[in-house]
């Protein structure tokens, strides 16, 4: 039987704050609007499966992902290759996902990260019940924890 995730909005804000402070030396500003042009979005996600099934997804703008990769690699933006950008945003999603997973009481597995150019194709993302909208270096950020309802319903039945 699948357990309910006990994570609350404040907990997700704390995770985001901790990850950004640790990796990027700057806490993101909370309650920023999420309004990038859809085609400009870069999304990285990890799946959690086991006692709870769902996704943890980190989205930002193309420029935000470039800035993030530049900061993490400590390189100028014009030296960041597309593979570096995907690597950096994927690793951030992996760390946020690991922190979310650590709040689960039961056993679960964390997938390797996947990165998409353009809005995430994961269904139901815009309706995710747990979502933090923030801004880092003036770039929009959206971090979502999305319950895979269909899978969880199957496991409960």
């Amino acid at each position: 039987m699948s357990e309910m995730i006990m994570l609350e909005h404040r907990d997700l804000e704390d995770i985001v704050s901790q990850v950004w402070t640790s990796l990027m030396d700057q806490e993101p500003a909370n309650t920023a609007p999420w309004d990038p042009v859809a085609s400009d979005v870069v999304a990285a996600g990890v799946a959690i499966s086991g006692c709870w099934n769902g996704w943890v997804i980190v989205e930002t703008s193309q420029q935000g992902a470039l800035d993030l990769a530049s900061t993490l690699f400590d390189l100028p933006m014009d030296e960041i290759a597309p593979s570096d950008l995907a690597d950096a945003l994927g690793e951030v999603a992996n760390i946020v996902g690991g922190s979310v997973k650590s709040t689960l009481a039961g056993t679960a597995q964390l997938s390797l990260p996947s990165v998409e150019q353009g809005p995430s194709t994961i269904a139901g993302l815009s309706e995710a019940s747990l979502q933090v909208h923030a801004a880092w270096h003036s770039h929009p950020l959206r971090i979502s924890v999305l319950d895979d309802n269909s899978k969880n319903m199957q496991e409960q039945s």
Partner: protein, 120 residues
């Protein structure tokens, strides 16, 4: 001493190397591998004094790497640096022979605490 950093993320290998310097281990020689299978080759060629490995990686995971090493009599000191920081993972790591598990996101002080007993 020689430290092998194993992670499929190039940026995370770089962050681990940077944090090692910040934690006071700048004088050690660092070699890298991008997954467990690659790490087996690097360990055979380079004989590191410490392995710092991610857990989730393609080809061969960190826990599979550790099991492979111990099954082949290789007792190199081994620690995890991973986003998998639950007690269950810590118990699995310890049971397999890991000396420590540092959870991401980490600080230089966390590296210092975990690595000083091994590197001095």
């Amino acid at each position: 001493m020689k430290i092998l950093v194993v992670d499929d993320s190039r940026v995370m290998r770089q962050i681990v190397c940077r944090t090692l310097r910040q934690a006071g281990f700048a004088d050690h020689h660092i070699v890298e591998a991008e997954n467990g299978a690659h790490a087996c080759d690097v360990i055979a060629a380079e004989s590191p004094d410490l392995v710092l490995s991610d857990w989730n990686m393609p080809e061969m995971t960190g826990i599979e790497l550790l099991a492979h090493l111990r099954n082949n009599g290789q007792q190199v000191p081994f620690g995890f640096v991973t986003s998998e920081g639950t007690q269950e993972m810590r118990d699995r790591a310890s049971a397999a022979g890991a000396m420590f598990l540092v959870a991401k996101p980490f600080t230089a002080d966390m590296f210092k605490d975990a690595l000083t007993p091994v590197l001095g």
